[in-house]
């Protein structure tokens, strides 16, 4: 039928709520004073590896990490 009620501009542009919310949160973290800023940025660091499975076998793993080697 007709489109839903007014969607927020970011959803109309193709962004999901999580992306939007993470963007806002990251901005706020970047604008903090020093000891708080590094604490906040450190807290959000991730380290994980992802592998896609095809036909019951894993393909090559991709490692995504914010922790320097």
């Amino acid at each position: 039928m007709a489109s839903n009620a007014a969607v927020p501009f970011w959803r109309a542009a193709g962004m999901t709520y999580i992306t939007y919310t993470n963007l806002c949160a990251n901005l706020v973290r970047q604008c903090l004073k020093e000891p708080y800023k590094s604490e906040a940025l450190n807290r959000e660091k991730v380290h994980y590896s992802v592998s896609r499975w095809v036909d019951g076998k894993p393909e090559k793993q991709t490692l995504r990490s914010d922790i320097p080697e």
């Binding site: 501009f9 970011w10 542009a13 939007y20 963007l23 806002c24 706020v28 970047q30 903090l32 004073k33």
Partner: protein, 198 residues
């Protein structure tokens, strides 16, 4: 013999005993009754319900509490927990919303903005990046924020710097997505800026 071993094993499982938690879990009657019927010789194990502190009951329309109980939480911390205050003003997407004791139950989405907590004569301000607020009918208010920082921790120079950067990004943006990102940035930063001064 095995029963004694089992009892000794169970008695080791008390690491999280705290004095506030009742030894007899209140709401788990069915489980307790079934346990006692089937295994009368062993102490019943503590279930998760025993560790949960009961929320204040959703009172009937009878009484309006005199104070608001607020919980300010984010995914990494519980900044305020069961704090009794007089009023909170939250930055809902529909504008600044004031919540007083006896407020109607509601759920609102929050946008980037200032959260002010009024208790007596003091006002505590937090900047919230985004989140939700749940007001329950017993005047318990849960504010869930992704980032909630006391306004004193915000650095005005960074705000100015990023504001300029995002204004440039907006003018240089080509796709809808880039424009949206730049616009979000500008919204958050301008709110940050006005919260710092106002």
């Amino acid at each position: 013999m095995f029963r004694r071993v089992a009892v000794r094993l169970l008695s080791h499982l008390r690491p999280f005993s705290s004095s506030e938690v009742p030894t007899e879990p209140v709401a788990d009657d069915l489980f307790m009754a079934a346990w006692r019927r089937i295994v009368p010789n062993l102490d019943p194990p503590r279930t998760p319900l025993a560790f949960m502190r009961p929320r204040p009951s959703t009172a009937s329309a009878a009484s309006t509490p005199s104070k608001l109980t607020i919980n300010l939480v984010s995914h990494y911390s519980s900044a305020l927990s069961n704090k009794q205050v007089d009023m909170v003003i939250v930055p809902a997407t529909t504008g600044q919303m004031g919540i007083l004791p006896g407020h109607v139950a509601s759920i609102s989405e929050l946008k980037a903005g200032l959260l002010s907590i009024h208790e007596g004569d003091e006002v505590t301000k937090y900047f919230i990046s985004s989140g939700f607020v749940f007001v329950h009918s017993n005047s318990v208010t849960d504010i869930i924020a992704i980032e909630a920082v006391p306004i004193e921790q915000v650095d005005p120079d960074s705000v100015q710097k990023y504001f300029k950067e995002f204004t440039q990004k907006l003018s240089a943006a080509s796709t809808d997505l880039e424009k949206a990102e730049a616009q979000i940035g500008l919204d958050v930063l301008s709110t940050l800026h006005s919260s710092l001064s106002g």
